[in-house]
Symmetry: C2
Subunit: 387 residues, 2 copies
């Protein structure tokens, strides 16, 4: 049973989750609100790793307000955890507080939870409702669900292009096709991601810092370079970003001895880690293997900001879940395309996505399109536990 009040309060909890978009990784972004008779008793959202989860924050908030949550309804955007992680299981605290009902947006795909939180609540005599605003909750935690369910992060490729689909002039000039607002919006996507990834083409052409600007964040994402031949210049600007934001830079390479080189040792002093992945093709990083490596290392979301070469290679390798395209209302004519992809002979062979949202950002448009089958797979991962 889902009534309009349940949806209203779950949306409130979702808004709380969106408020911690940039800070919970590798944990999911979760919001929680506890309500009785249309009145908020307590609310909260997941704190940075090691800190309390959303349910605990909401329960503590209610305590601070002097409210008992007994017989109240607790709305939470993700199934309460039932395992000891960095913190004790939330489900115990929820049960102890004795709410009458718990309303959950989506199941936790974490194999250590996976319906057990829900079962524990029901066993304690609490009425449990699931599937309220599931799609919206999944939007917030696609990366966490992807990592838990398939072992790899949710990957989007950010691009800026002209209305005629060009990303750079023939002479390489690409700064800036889109306006300041679009670039700032792009930084918000960097900020929410776990890692910002680029290739050697962009590194050598633009010498990017790959840090978050235009948006203030307390948890800067890591950086990664795909550098098959391990030829990154040691004076690349992005290595300086670590001095500013303190986060690690990863270099993925196909050179087996790269990690033990003197260059790697020098870079290690600057918080740079070199990862040599076995590769079937000389000098080419195995992109799916890299995504699995990232998944194993608790990376939920990858923000790719690369040229047409690496972008196309990631699409071709099946590593892209979503396209994030900033479209400027200009025509660039005979210039470089957005993604280097092979020729196809039939329209049926085209790689198909589904538009999800369109927004105006300054004079530009932001289009999001994602792989519909993969999105369905995420849905499947969170819906396998039914109340």
């Amino acid at each position: 049973m889902t009534d309009t009040d349940d949806i209203k309060w779950m949306r409130h909890a979702l808004a709380l989750a969106r408020g911690v978009m940039n800070t919970t990784t590798p944990n999911p972004r979760v919001g929680c609100v506890i309500v009785r008779d249309g009145r908020i008793l307590g609310e909260g959202a997941t704190q940075p790793p090691g800190g309390p989860h959303a349910e605990i924050c909401a329960l503590r908030d209610a305590a601070v307000r002097g409210e008992s949550v007994r017989d109240a309804t607790l709305y939470v955007t993700l199934e309460p955890c039932s395992h000891f992680g960095r913190t004790p299981p939330c489900v115990d605290a929820v049960i102890a507080a004795q709410p009458a009902r718990v309303v959950i947006a989506m199941g936790d795909p974490n194999p250590q939870v996976n319906g057990q939180g829900l079962a524990r609540l029901q066993a304690a005599g609490i009425s449990v409702i699931t599937g309220v605003c599931t799609e919206e909750s999944l939007e917030i935690n696609a990366g966490f669900v992807a990592r838990m369910s398939r072992g790899t992060p949710w990957v989007w490729v950010k691009m800026a292009a002209s209305l005629d689909g060009r990303s750079a002039l023939h002479n390489g000039v690409s700064q800036w096709i889109t306006g300041e607002d679009a670039r700032a919006d792009g930084h918000a996507w960097r900020a929410r991601s776990c890692i910002v990834l680029t290739g050697m083409g962009t590194l050598l052409k633009d010498n990017p810092r790959l840090n978050v600007r235009s948006v203030s964040t307390t948890r800067p994402p890591r950086r990664a370079i795909i550098d098959g031949r391990f030829e990154v210049p040691e004076n690349a600007l992005l290595f300086d970003s670590a001095h500013v934001d303190g986060v690690e830079t990863l270099i993925f390479t196909a050179q087996p001895d790269a990690a033990s080189s003197g260059k790697a040792a020098r870079l290690a002093q600057r918080n740079v880690r070199v990862i040599a992945l076995p590769s079937a093709v000389a000098d080419r990083v195995d992109l799916p293997a890299m995504m699995h490596w990232l998944g194993r290392h608790e990376i939920n979301e990858v923000h790719v900001e690369a040229g047409a070469g690496l972008g196309g290679a990631l699409v071709s390798a099946g590593c892209v879940d979503e396209l994030l395209v900033y479209l400027a209302p200009v025509l660039l004519g005979d210039a470089a395309g957005m993604l280097k992809l092979p020729m196809i002979e039939h329209l049926d062979s085209a790689r198909r996505f589904a538009f999800t949202d369109v927004a105006r950002v300054g004079a530009d448009l932001r289009l999001r399109a994602r792989d519909a089958a993969r999105w369905q797979a995420l849905h499947h991962a969170i819906m396998s536990q039914k109340a």
Copy 2:
């Protein structure tokens, strides 16, 4: 003075104008509603050429309802005409009906009206308000205003493209990149236009009928082909469309003797007119001269549905006011671009438009972008007459 009631009723009049989108050409689409004390006394919209204009329809509607419009407010989306055209001046009928107020969305750019309708109303002691919902009214009549103010039609280029800006595969395959809904929407744009224009590349490749389907309309647009060398095959499918919808097909060519040829005489039997325009470049139709020809022949709106070659040539010749792009959420990779345009060296040289509206059409997006300076020029043409 503009109050919210004025805006509300003008929007009602605009909706009436939108109801005659496909049938008034070469006259503007105009709506009119007469109101007293919040009650509609009469309403109407411009009838097909030779029939009554919106004001007359609304006055007659009031008469049929047995309502006097004396002291009422008359809302009309375009300044009432003050000249004898196919019908007598509307302004006389309005004055005779003695409304207290006339509220006008925009001035008539027709040099035969151009503020005189407004002046006549004021001279008759009627209170006149202008500039209510001007932008919305201009949206409906951009073509009429363009023709009246600059002598050429308002021209949009309709394109279907993939998210990576490709309009056809390397082997020419382009049917269909977008879905059925987008194609039907494209037919609605054909239906509102005065003429549907294509080039020989598209004609030879797709052999299009260039008529309106998916949308029912009582006033089918004409068709035009740009055929510099006058080499169109006489069995092209679009020549059969005249049997179905009865409208003329124009062929613009650069061959001086084309119009007097036997081929032209044979085509004339099938409602085809050959227009040879003088050209500085052999075999190339002078595109700006063609637009002036169309303007002189009462064409308000041109719907271009062509390949990247002609589309690019029109943009380069400064003949394009608006882009109408249907974007499919697919990646086509190494394939043909949307518009053949020359290389540029600096981003500042890019042809810049402004996004106006974005709509989801089935699985696709429809993006509209127009030349902001030209739009401003239209505004100037209708705002020169101040109340």
